[in-house]
Symmetry: C2
Subunit: 337 residues, 2 copies
């Protein structure tokens, strides 16, 4: 019932190898023969058997992507990575296989050792990520989205979260703010030592300290109660707070909302700068100044690196995307008091 390569060959009156070469382009084929073969393929609706093919080729044209442990579809940033990789992959004829980090390290080995995938992309890297040694020992290439402490020789792409944090501080400081606080990722994100959360916070705190300002910060749950609590806590730490750096895209709308409830106008009474995907800041009211988190770009880049490695070309071990500030209406000079 399923149509095989030999069926195509028979119908076209050529040998199986000729059909194979028409398919792969690994050998010159006369125009006439090619035409007959392609016609035969089309008429029979032939698709090469991927499994059979993968025995002889050394590849499957499938790559695996390892999702974060706690992925639940809530974090749109995580999903932007997935979609960016997915689109890049599909555009190049690759398929994407999804793995969850819960499966643990064993599953990465499994799909690779069973020759199901040509490579692996791993996201949401922890500073001391247990998957790193596994990836390094793999006999297939891997690319990390994120930077572990011991990345040496493991190809990874990342956003410069420390510089992004510092840039937020600089912007607000330049505007005249001297009391700047940071509302950061949820506590459990810090608990699992996610690199992006730690580096962004440290970038902010370091820059605050360097400029002689108080390192005021707090993690926040991305819901109204969590945000209200966090903001109250920040004011407790520094009652003169006049500017907020928000690196918590899900909480951002609730932050604006809460400030409004508290009667603090943005940017008059409180300046706000966010680190988040641009489209999540620009459609709020007021539109929020942000250091754009290039999730789609990182995902695309990660796949590009992986394909490069698969095809055997050397890739830069480390790529750090530089932050860029989008000025909007949410940050201005502090009110004279």
């Amino acid at each position: 019932m399923p149509v095989r390569l030999v069926d195509v060959a028979r119908r076209a009156g050529v040998s199986p190898s000729t059909v194979s070469y028409v398919l792969s382009g690994n050998r010159p084929i006369s125009a006439e023969t090619r035409r007959r073969v392609e016609e035969s393929i089309a008429e029979l609706g032939f698709r090469p058997h991927a499994g059979a093919r993968s025995i002889r080729r050394q590849s499957t044209n499938v790559v695996a992507m390892v999702l974060p442990m706690f992925a639940d579809g809530q974090s749109s940033v995580q999903m932007q990575f997935v979609f960016a990789v997915l689109h890049a992959a599909r555009a190049q004829g690759y398929n994407l296989l999804l793995l969850t980090a819960e499966d643990g390290v064993a599953e990465i080995n499994n799909v690779v050792n069973s020759a199901m995938v040509d490579g692996v992309i791993v996201m949401e890297i922890q500073v001391n990520d247990p998957r790193v040694p596994v990836l390094r020992a793999l006999d297939r290439p891997a690319v990390l989205i994120g930077t572990p402490d011991d990345a040496e020789s493991l190809v990874h792409v990342d956003f410069d979260f420390a510089a992004a944090g510092a840039m937020c501080v600089q912007h607000l400081h330049d505007l005249g703010h001297r009391h700047i606080g940071m509302l950061a990722q949820p506590a459990d994100t810090f608990a699992r030592q996610a690199g992006f959360a730690l580096r962004a916070r440290d970038g902010v705190l370091q820059e605050l300290t360097d400029r002689g300002l108080n390192p005021t910060w707090i993690p926040a749950q991305p819901n109204p109660a969590g945000v209200a609590e966090a903001i109250e806590e920040l004011f407790g730490q520094d009652p003169e707070l006049s500017a907020l750096i928000v690196y918590n895209e899900l909480a951002l709308p609730f932050v604006l909302d809460r400030l409004r409830q508290l009667g603090r106008r943005v940017p008059g009474d409180m300046s706000v700068v966010a680190i988040c995907p641009d489209d999540q800041a620009q459609h709020l009211l007021p539109a929020v100044s942000d250091v754009a988190l290039p999730a789609a770009e990182l995902g695309r880049l990660a796949f590009e690196r992986l394909v490069g490695l698969i095809s055997g070309t050397d890739q830069p071990v480390s790529t750090l995307l530089e932050p860029h500030l989008n000025r909007r209406g949410s940050a201005g000079p502090p009110l004279r008091r």
Copy 2:
């Protein structure tokens, strides 16, 4: 370098077929032989080559999931489907291959005809979905999450959105409301004839009409400006509006926010009931009464059906999950005037 089945056999001092039978369990094996083989497998770290295996077996233990055309990671509901299917699949030793609807119908045929997957799950079904005839002609099973107009004989699972809409109306009407409006999915969701959007709206409007109330509704973009505009429009349609049905999970926080800005208190001046995943309603302030959208349950169910079909057991063609109302603080009787 990669370890093969024959390597395992040699090391265990048995024939390849014996190793195969140990793996598949298709033949009785003496305890002693089994022990030696398993030891050999473990020591060599052997994993059967998935491709080679799939030639002889008729299956790959991979299923494909076709994502919505416009998936961008923003809609958490879509992602909950994906994660539900992913977790169910991984729990049963299946891998999940992601396809985007943009690839078009051809790509579904491709992965199936190339024997890459054992079955397909398709989500975000349109009422007149062009993929339906393709899925029906496939020689592998397919399961839809959603209901097309011509579903006959195609296994599908869905939430009863019409009943959910009606239930919202009923709840508000029972509380005493006579001026009820619906803030619905974005216009482009209607434009692409997404079944869930149409059915929920029609369920609401039908029930409103049946109860002699005005069928007031409006689509809304899920951002502050879109929501503000939609609410203004609803008040334009019915200045006495005292209750809102929101089926637009991304817009829901902005709705509460906007009502607050307008000085309308919830539920005093305006009752709100949502159709959305429960966790997106319960953590708002005030916590929002909802008809819970069982995305995770639907995803899990879809995979269950698909595995059933793959293993050759008949499955119910249609499964419609009944709505259930969670009463919270956002809906109450209308203020006496």
